[in-house]
Every structure is written in structure tokens, then in C-alpha cells.
Amino acid sequence: MFLQRLNPSIKALTIMILVVLLAFIFEPMTPLLFLIWTVSITFIFGKVNFKKYALYFIPFVIFSFGMLWTSVVFADTPKNQDEIVVLLGMAYPRETLLTALALSIRVLNVAALSLLFVFTTNIVHFILSMMQQLRLPPKIAYAVLAGYRFLPMMRDEIKLIHDAHRIRGVNQAKTVTEKWNNYKRYSIPLLASAIRKAERTAIAMESKGFTGDKNRTFYRQFTVKKTDWLFPLIMLTGFLAALLAS
């Protein structure tokens, strides 16, 4: 698919620029139109699983709702107080309501843009591309990739620490407070083992010749092709169109 094949750095930068542009918009129409545009692009060019997408989107709907009502209740006094809109039996200044709508739709729009990225990008490719296109130092990039590999190990480690505690008579946590106390008890051993693993990994990498030199070769090469520029073009056109139409 088009979105999956895009250069990850170009994709990320485009999305960041769009999020910054959205921060300057305080009326609801532009983000609403652009939200529709973003979601359409995601499904047309990304073939994203709808159920999974919806599942990720729901928390943002909740947050957006929180944003909506606080922006109405705690709004700054509007300049134009005469225009009143009556909603659910309560009167609100029109300007306040519009700004509140704009802010909450912005939350949804930023979420849609982020999901476009998350659902269509292989994250290891993103790091490799950041190293090759955005000059992320190899020392940091490979340290992050190594750290990322610790994640599944950490799940095993938690199980291990949990079992070790049980053998020594710590009871299975049932209530929330007990669970919280258990996490407090696990935190230091978990961090300690992560640090030990990291030290060993670093020594192993250096002993096998990793210097962190920027003049290195890559097994997986990432380049910027002409078609990669289509994505920023499509998205910025959509944003401009939304801006002009509202």
C-alpha cells in the first residue's frame, strides 16, 4: 500500500507540520473537514483494519468530550456577548461554543493524523530511516533499538520477580492497594535487572566492533524517492482546501 511504502521520516515530518498548523486554527470547520480528509486518506491508501482503528480512536473521543465541556464552562469571556445559542435548555455565547468545538475537533484530528502514522509504519524502519535521513546518531539509534528488544524480556522478568516474591510468602494481590504495593515492591528489582541487561548488551555490542561511527553501512537502506513527496503534497492540499472552504 502507498502509505506503508512511504519513507517513514517524510511521513513523520509531514504529520508534525500538520499538527503545528492545526494549532493555529480556532474555528471548528477547518479541523472537521480536514479530519474527514485524514481519515479517508488513511483508509483509501492504507487499508487499515477498521475495528482496530475504532478501538484506538475511542479514548480520544472521551478526551475530546472532556475538552469540549471544560472549554465551554471555563472559557475566557468572549468579546461578542450578544450572540447567544441555546443548547439543551442552557444559553451559551456563540463564540465560546465555536471555540470549544474547534478545540475538541482538533484533538480528534491530531489523533487521526497520529493513527495514520502508527497504523502504517513499521517502527524499526522508522528508527533506521531517522538514522539515515534525519542524522540521528547511530549510538542513540542502536541503543534505542536494543532497549526496545528488552520489552518482551521485561514481561518475563516481571513474572520472575512475581514468582520469587510468592515463594517467599508474599500473597497474591487481590485489592487495588495490594496491587499498588506489589508494583512498588517490584519496581527496584525490575529496574536493577534492566540496568544489568543494558550494561551487558553495551559491552557485547562494543566487543563486536560497534563504535557508533557515523560513516557506517546499512543492511536495510532507506532513501527518499520522488513518489514520497506525494504524501506531503496530498495532505497539505487537503489542509489548504479545508482552510479555504470554511
Partner: protein, 192 residues
């Protein structure tokens, strides 16, 4: 970056990975609080999202530790696949700069409790300025925004500063930090 040992970078990355997971775990909690109290809900627990800066800087004690660890934690959050997307990396950088600025003000020499708390406040300040523009706090009443700001600074000082110090000290007592600045200081104190 040149005076960093590679070991320190990987350990910093490992810490960032652990806290990246913790950060993600706290996002839904923040979301619930924000659903109830509005945006200020996040500010009560905002300090948790600065904690790796304080821990990494306190343990490694080199210029850039606070900034890089927070940036990497944000990268890890993107790696795991959170729904905030690549923009989160910028958020992490902004938060890291705040803590780093405080450590820079002491020329990366002083790591006493109050400096760590000030670093947490520093992250709160920069992250608030960033959030002010990106989330459109300008549209909210000044009193509410001020309350958010104060709550976030307190949260930064207490959760990031004090809890971060407590965790690092607990780690130092286990001895795993023996080849890092904090562990060395511990050994010196023990010998004395």
C-alpha cells in the same frame, strides 16, 4: 555526546524503555481524570511524565542526560505504538529541555534534592508553554489556566523530583549502579 561511554547510553535507553511503558500506562489514567476534571486532570499526575529525566540525570550526571532520556522515552512510546504518534517525540524533547536547563544552570554539578525538584518544575514550565499553544489553552479562562500551571509545577516537583530521587537511591543501594556517577558517590559515602 563524546564524553559519554556507550554503556551509559544503553543504560539510559533501557531506563527510558521502562519508563516509556510506565508513561503509556499512565495515559489512560490521565484521560479518565481529564474526562472528569477537564484538561487539569492531566496536571495532577503530570510529574510522572518527567520522571525519567530526573532519574537519568541523577544517575549518569552528564550534560544531556535529562534531555536525551526524555526524548528516548518518547521515542519508545512511539515504538510501542501509542496513539499520539510522532508528535510525541517533540513533546518529550520539550519536557527534557526544561529539566536539562535547570541542571545546566548548576553546570551539571549539583544534584541535591532541591535541584532535582527544580528540574521537575523546569519540565513543567516548558511543557506547559508548549501545551498552551498546541492544545489551545489560550481559549480557557486565565484563572483556570493559572490553576493548571500551578498544579503541574507541584506535580513536577513532587512526582518527578522526589519520587525520581527515591527510586534512584533505592537502585543505588542494590549496587547495580556501581560504575555510574550515583553509585560511585554512594560507595564514597559508605567508605567515609
Amino acid at each position: 555526546m563524546t564524553n559519554w561511554r556507550f554503556k551509559e547510553i544503553v543504560v539510559m535507553a533501557a531506563l527510558s524503555v521502562v519508563f516509556g511503558v510506565v508513561y503509556l500506562a499512565f495515559l489512560p489514567l490521565g484521560g479518565v481524570l481529564a474526562g472528569i476534571f477537564g484538561p487539569i486532570g492531566y496536571d495532577f499526575i503530570f510529574g510522572i511524565w518527567f520522571i525519567v529525566s530526573i532519574i537519568a540525570a541523577y544517575i549518569i550526571r552528564k550534560p544531556g542526560a535529562a534531555f536525551l532520556s526524555e526524548t528516548i522515552a518518547a521515542m519508545v512510546e512511539v515504538l510501542i505504538g501509542n496513539a499520539i504518534g510522532p508528535m510525541l517525540i517533540v513533546t518529550g524533547m520539550v519536557q527534557g529541555i526544561g529539566a536539562e536547563a535547570v541542571f545546566a544552570a548548576t553546570r551539571w554539578k549539583n544534584y541535591s534534592t532541591w535541584v532535582l525538584m527544580a528540574a521537575g518544575v523546569g519540565s513543567a514550565v516548558t511543557s506547559f508553554i508548549y501545551g498552551y499553544f498546541m492544545s489551545g489553552y489560550a481559549a480557557l479562562a486565565p484563572g483556570y489556566v493559572t490553576a493548571m500551571f500551578i498544579v503541574r509545577m507541584i506535580s513536577g516537583a513532587l512526582i518527578a523530583g522526589l519520587l525520581g530521587k527515591a527510586l534512584s537511591d533505592g537502585l543505588a543501594q542494590t549496587g547495580v549502579l556501581s560504575s555510574f556517577a550515583l553509585g560511585k558517590e554512594y560507595r564514597k559515602r559508605k567508605a567515609a
